[in-house]
Amino acid sequence: MEFKELDPILHSQLRLAVVSLLISVREAEFTFLKEKTNATAGNLSVQINKLKDAGYLDVTKQFNNNYPQTICKITKKGIEAFEGYVKALQTYMNPNGQS
Protein backbone atom coordinates (compact mmCIF):
# COMPACT_ATOMS: atom_id res chain seq x y z
CA MET A 1 0.00 0.00 0.00
CA GLU A 2 1.44 3.35 -1.07
CA PHE A 3 1.16 6.38 1.23
CA LYS A 4 -0.10 9.42 -0.65
CA GLU A 5 1.69 12.70 -0.10
CA LEU A 6 -0.22 15.15 2.09
CA ASP A 7 -0.86 18.58 0.56
CA PRO A 8 1.61 20.89 2.40
CA ILE A 9 -0.79 23.83 2.10
CA LEU A 10 -3.45 21.96 4.05
CA HIS A 11 -1.12 20.01 6.35
CA SER A 12 -0.92 22.82 8.90
CA GLN A 13 -3.12 23.00 11.98
CA LEU A 14 -4.61 26.44 11.41
CA ARG A 15 -5.00 26.25 7.63
CA LEU A 16 -6.63 22.83 7.93
CA ALA A 17 -8.99 24.17 10.61
CA VAL A 18 -10.00 27.12 8.41
CA VAL A 19 -10.66 24.91 5.38
CA SER A 20 -12.60 22.37 7.51
CA LEU A 21 -14.83 25.17 8.82
CA LEU A 22 -15.40 26.64 5.37
CA ILE A 23 -16.17 23.26 3.79
CA SER A 24 -19.33 23.07 5.96
CA VAL A 25 -20.68 26.59 5.38
CA ARG A 26 -21.48 28.78 2.36
CA GLU A 27 -19.27 31.64 3.54
CA ALA A 28 -17.92 32.96 6.82
CA GLU A 29 -16.61 36.21 8.21
CA PHE A 30 -13.04 36.53 9.49
CA THR A 31 -14.31 37.03 13.08
CA PHE A 32 -16.23 33.71 12.93
CA LEU A 33 -13.05 31.86 11.85
CA LYS A 34 -11.04 33.62 14.58
CA GLU A 35 -13.64 32.70 17.22
CA LYS A 36 -13.79 29.03 16.19
CA THR A 37 -10.05 28.47 15.74
CA ASN A 38 -8.91 30.55 18.76
CA ALA A 39 -6.12 31.92 16.58
CA THR A 40 -4.68 35.42 16.77
CA ALA A 41 -5.90 37.88 14.13
CA GLY A 42 -2.39 38.31 12.69
CA ASN A 43 -1.65 34.60 12.36
CA LEU A 44 -5.10 33.86 10.94
CA SER A 45 -4.75 36.66 8.40
CA VAL A 46 -1.38 35.29 7.19
CA GLN A 47 -2.76 31.74 6.83
CA ILE A 48 -5.89 32.93 5.01
CA ASN A 49 -3.67 34.79 2.55
CA LYS A 50 -1.64 31.60 1.94
CA LEU A 51 -4.86 29.68 1.23
CA LYS A 52 -6.03 32.49 -1.03
CA ASP A 53 -2.72 32.52 -2.95
CA ALA A 54 -3.03 28.75 -3.45
CA GLY A 55 -6.49 29.38 -4.98
CA TYR A 56 -8.27 27.48 -2.18
CA LEU A 57 -10.21 30.48 -0.83
CA ASP A 58 -12.06 33.46 -2.23
CA VAL A 59 -11.58 36.44 0.06
CA THR A 60 -13.82 39.49 -0.22
CA LYS A 61 -13.13 42.66 1.72
CA GLN A 62 -16.01 45.07 2.20
CA PHE A 63 -17.41 47.65 4.61
CA ASN A 64 -20.40 47.05 6.86
CA ASN A 65 -21.61 50.09 8.84
CA ASN A 66 -18.19 51.71 8.29
CA TYR A 67 -16.41 48.65 9.74
CA PRO A 68 -14.11 46.58 7.49
CA GLN A 69 -15.35 43.05 6.95
CA THR A 70 -13.49 40.08 5.44
CA ILE A 71 -15.60 37.31 4.00
CA CYS A 72 -14.05 33.93 3.15
CA LYS A 73 -15.45 31.26 0.90
CA ILE A 74 -13.92 27.98 -0.21
CA THR A 75 -13.33 27.61 -3.98
CA LYS A 76 -13.87 24.55 -6.16
CA LYS A 77 -10.09 24.04 -6.17
CA GLY A 78 -10.15 24.24 -2.35
CA ILE A 79 -12.90 21.60 -2.12
CA GLU A 80 -10.96 19.28 -4.45
CA ALA A 81 -7.76 19.81 -2.45
CA PHE A 82 -9.60 19.08 0.81
CA GLU A 83 -11.12 15.90 -0.62
CA GLY A 84 -7.69 14.82 -1.88
CA TYR A 85 -6.18 15.56 1.54
CA VAL A 86 -8.80 13.44 3.34
CA LYS A 87 -8.26 10.56 0.87
CA ALA A 88 -4.49 10.78 1.42
CA LEU A 89 -5.04 10.79 5.21
CA GLN A 90 -7.07 7.61 4.89
CA THR A 91 -4.10 5.81 3.31
CA TYR A 92 -2.09 6.55 6.48
CA MET A 93 -4.87 5.59 8.86
CA ASN A 94 -5.92 2.50 6.97
CA PRO A 95 -2.80 1.32 5.13
CA ASN A 96 -4.31 -2.07 4.20
CA GLY A 97 -7.16 -0.36 2.38
CA GLN A 98 -9.75 -1.97 4.63
CA SER A 99 -12.91 0.00 5.25
Binding site: R15, V25, A28, L89, Y92, M93
Partner: protein
Protein backbone atom coordinates in the same frame (compact mmCIF):
# COMPACT_ATOMS: atom_id res chain seq x y z
CA UNK B 1 -4.07 27.44 17.33
CA UNK B 2 -0.72 27.49 15.59
CA UNK B 3 0.56 26.82 12.07
CA UNK B 4 2.94 24.04 13.14
CA UNK B 5 2.70 20.90 11.07
CA UNK B 6 5.71 18.88 12.24
CA UNK B 7 3.71 17.14 14.95
CA UNK B 8 0.42 16.91 13.08
CA UNK B 9 -0.20 13.17 12.74
CA UNK B 10 -2.90 11.77 10.38
CA UNK B 11 -4.98 11.06 13.49
CA UNK B 12 -4.58 14.64 14.73
CA UNK B 13 -5.57 15.93 11.28
CA UNK B 14 -8.68 13.76 11.20
CA UNK B 15 -9.69 14.83 14.71
CA UNK B 16 -9.17 18.49 13.83
CA UNK B 17 -11.30 18.15 10.68
CA UNK B 18 -14.10 16.43 12.65
CA UNK B 19 -14.01 18.98 15.43
CA UNK B 20 -14.14 21.97 13.04
CA UNK B 21 -16.93 20.48 10.92
CA UNK B 22 -18.94 19.83 14.12
CA UNK B 23 -18.32 23.36 15.35
CA UNK B 24 -19.61 24.81 12.08
CA UNK B 25 -22.55 22.39 12.06
CA UNK B 26 -23.56 23.22 15.64
CA UNK B 27 -23.50 26.94 15.00
CA UNK B 28 -27.22 27.56 15.47
CA UNK B 29 -28.17 31.01 14.17
CA UNK B 30 -31.98 30.77 14.32
CA UNK B 31 -33.18 32.64 17.40
CA UNK B 32 -36.88 31.91 16.81
CA UNK B 33 -37.84 35.59 16.99
CA UNK B 34 -39.77 35.75 13.69
CA UNK B 35 -41.56 32.48 14.47
CA UNK B 36 -42.79 34.12 17.68
CA UNK B 37 -43.75 37.42 16.02
CA UNK B 38 -45.78 35.69 13.30
CA UNK B 39 -47.07 33.00 15.64
CA UNK B 40 -48.50 35.42 18.18
CA UNK B 41 -49.82 37.74 15.43
CA UNK B 42 -51.71 34.99 13.59
CA UNK B 43 -52.88 33.51 16.90
CA UNK B 44 -54.29 36.89 18.05
CA UNK B 45 -55.86 37.66 14.65
CA UNK B 46 -57.55 34.23 14.47
CA UNK B 47 -58.99 34.50 18.00
CA UNK B 48 -60.12 38.13 17.45
CA UNK B 49 -61.69 37.25 14.09
CA UNK B 50 -63.52 34.32 15.73
CA UNK B 51 -64.79 36.47 18.63
CA UNK B 52 -65.90 39.30 16.29
CA UNK B 53 -67.80 36.79 14.13
CA UNK B 54 -69.42 35.05 17.08
CA UNK B 55 -70.45 38.25 18.85
CA UNK B 56 -71.23 40.00 15.57
CA UNK B 57 -69.21 43.02 16.70
CA UNK B 58 -68.03 44.36 13.33
CA UNK B 59 -69.33 44.48 9.80
CA UNK B 60 -65.93 43.45 8.45
CA UNK B 61 -64.25 41.34 11.14
CA UNK B 62 -61.58 40.17 8.66
CA UNK B 63 -60.06 43.65 8.94
CA UNK B 64 -57.89 42.30 11.81
CA UNK B 65 -55.75 40.50 9.20
CA UNK B 66 -54.61 43.86 7.80
CA UNK B 67 -52.13 43.95 10.71
CA UNK B 68 -50.15 41.28 8.83
CA UNK B 69 -48.96 43.97 6.40
CA UNK B 70 -47.33 45.81 9.33
CA UNK B 71 -45.62 42.55 10.27
CA UNK B 72 -44.35 42.17 6.69
CA UNK B 73 -42.78 45.66 6.83
CA UNK B 74 -41.31 44.90 10.27
CA UNK B 75 -39.89 41.60 8.98
CA UNK B 76 -38.19 43.25 5.98
CA UNK B 77 -36.50 45.83 8.26
CA UNK B 78 -35.58 43.18 10.85
CA UNK B 79 -34.09 40.79 8.28
CA UNK B 80 -32.05 43.49 6.55
CA UNK B 81 -30.54 44.44 9.96
CA UNK B 82 -29.91 40.81 10.88
CA UNK B 83 -28.18 40.16 7.55
CA UNK B 84 -25.58 42.79 8.41
CA UNK B 85 -24.87 41.06 11.75
CA UNK B 86 -24.46 37.58 10.26
CA UNK B 87 -20.96 36.17 10.70
CA UNK B 88 -21.56 32.97 8.79
CA UNK B 89 -23.93 31.78 6.06
CA UNK B 90 -24.74 28.10 5.90
CA UNK B 91 -26.20 26.07 3.02
CA UNK B 92 -29.19 24.92 5.11
CA UNK B 93 -30.05 28.51 6.14
CA UNK B 94 -29.97 29.52 2.50
CA UNK B 95 -32.42 26.74 1.54
CA UNK B 96 -34.69 27.50 4.54
CA UNK B 97 -34.81 31.20 3.51
CA UNK B 98 -35.92 30.28 -0.02
CA UNK B 99 -38.55 27.88 1.38
CA UNK B 100 -40.11 30.78 3.34
CA UNK B 101 -39.89 33.12 0.33
CA UNK B 102 -41.77 30.52 -1.76
CA UNK B 103 -44.33 30.22 1.08
CA UNK B 104 -44.87 34.00 1.02
CA UNK B 105 -45.39 33.91 -2.76
CA UNK B 106 -47.85 30.98 -2.45
CA UNK B 107 -49.83 32.84 0.23
CA UNK B 108 -50.04 35.87 -2.03
CA UNK B 109 -51.25 33.73 -4.96
CA UNK B 110 -53.83 31.96 -2.75
CA UNK B 111 -55.29 35.30 -1.62
CA UNK B 112 -55.58 36.43 -5.29
CA UNK B 113 -57.20 33.13 -6.37
CA UNK B 114 -59.66 33.13 -3.45
CA UNK B 115 -60.65 36.76 -3.90
CA UNK B 116 -61.22 36.16 -7.61
CA UNK B 117 -63.21 32.94 -7.13
CA UNK B 118 -64.90 34.20 -3.94
CA UNK B 119 -64.21 30.88 -2.25
CA UNK B 120 -63.29 32.27 1.20
CA UNK B 121 -64.43 29.31 3.38
CA UNK B 122 -61.88 27.09 1.64
CA UNK B 123 -59.08 29.59 2.08
CA UNK B 124 -58.34 28.78 5.72
CA UNK B 125 -58.03 25.06 4.93
CA UNK B 126 -55.52 25.82 2.17
CA UNK B 127 -53.65 28.23 4.45
CA UNK B 128 -53.41 25.49 7.10
CA UNK B 129 -51.93 23.16 4.49
CA UNK B 130 -49.51 25.89 3.34
CA UNK B 131 -48.39 26.61 6.95
CA UNK B 132 -47.38 22.96 7.26
CA UNK B 133 -45.04 22.80 4.25
CA UNK B 134 -42.39 25.45 5.10
CA UNK B 135 -42.57 24.57 8.80
CA UNK B 136 -41.95 20.88 8.09
CA UNK B 137 -39.15 21.59 5.57
CA UNK B 138 -37.47 24.13 7.88
CA UNK B 139 -37.52 21.53 10.64
CA UNK B 140 -35.86 19.00 8.33
CA UNK B 141 -33.30 21.56 7.09
CA UNK B 142 -32.43 22.73 10.61
CA UNK B 143 -32.72 19.21 12.08
CA UNK B 144 -35.17 20.62 14.62
CA UNK B 145 -37.92 18.15 15.49
CA UNK B 146 -40.49 20.56 17.06
CA UNK B 147 -40.86 22.28 13.66
CA UNK B 148 -41.25 18.93 11.88
CA UNK B 149 -44.00 17.94 14.35
CA UNK B 150 -45.58 21.42 14.01
CA UNK B 151 -45.70 21.02 10.22
CA UNK B 152 -47.39 17.62 10.51
CA UNK B 153 -49.94 19.05 13.00
CA UNK B 154 -50.81 21.80 10.46
CA UNK B 155 -51.51 19.17 7.78
CA UNK B 156 -53.70 17.15 10.18
CA UNK B 157 -55.64 20.32 11.09
CA UNK B 158 -56.04 21.11 7.36
CA UNK B 159 -57.81 17.76 6.89
CA UNK B 160 -59.91 18.31 10.03
CA UNK B 161 -60.91 21.79 8.84
CA UNK B 162 -63.12 20.45 6.01
CA UNK B 163 -65.26 18.52 8.53
CA UNK B 164 -66.17 21.46 10.81
CA UNK B 165 -68.14 24.71 10.30
CA UNK B 166 -65.94 27.43 8.64
CA UNK B 167 -66.10 29.77 11.63
CA UNK B 168 -64.39 27.18 13.87
CA UNK B 169 -61.56 26.79 11.34
CA UNK B 170 -60.30 30.10 12.76
CA UNK B 171 -59.67 28.28 16.04
CA UNK B 172 -57.77 25.61 14.10
CA UNK B 173 -55.60 28.40 12.62
CA UNK B 174 -54.80 29.56 16.16
CA UNK B 175 -54.03 25.98 17.23
CA UNK B 176 -51.82 25.43 14.16
CA UNK B 177 -49.61 28.48 14.80
CA UNK B 178 -49.39 27.54 18.47
CA UNK B 179 -48.04 24.10 17.52
CA UNK B 180 -46.02 25.11 14.46
CA UNK B 181 -44.53 28.51 15.33
CA UNK B 182 -45.13 29.60 18.95
CA UNK B 183 -43.95 26.47 20.79
CA UNK B 184 -41.01 25.82 18.39
CA UNK B 185 -40.24 29.58 18.49
CA UNK B 186 -39.73 29.49 22.27
CA UNK B 187 -37.70 26.27 22.00
CA UNK B 188 -35.51 27.82 19.26
CA UNK B 189 -35.04 30.92 21.40
CA UNK B 190 -33.89 28.92 24.44
CA UNK B 191 -31.57 26.78 22.27
CA UNK B 192 -30.05 29.93 20.77
CA UNK B 193 -29.57 31.57 24.18
CA UNK B 194 -27.98 28.38 25.56
CA UNK B 195 -25.53 28.22 22.63
CA UNK B 196 -24.52 31.87 23.08
CA UNK B 197 -23.95 31.35 26.82
CA UNK B 198 -21.43 28.55 26.19
Amino acid sequence: MTTQNENLSPNDSMQLINSMINQAKNNFSENGFLYLVWGWLIFTCSICHFIFLKLDLFKQPEIVWASCWLAVIFQIIYLSRQKKKEKVKTYSENIVNYIWISFGICMFIVVIIMSKTNNWPMMNSIILMLYGTPTFLSGIGMQFKPLVIGGIICWCLAILSVFIPPVYVLLLLAASVLAAWIVPGYLLSSKYKLQNKQ
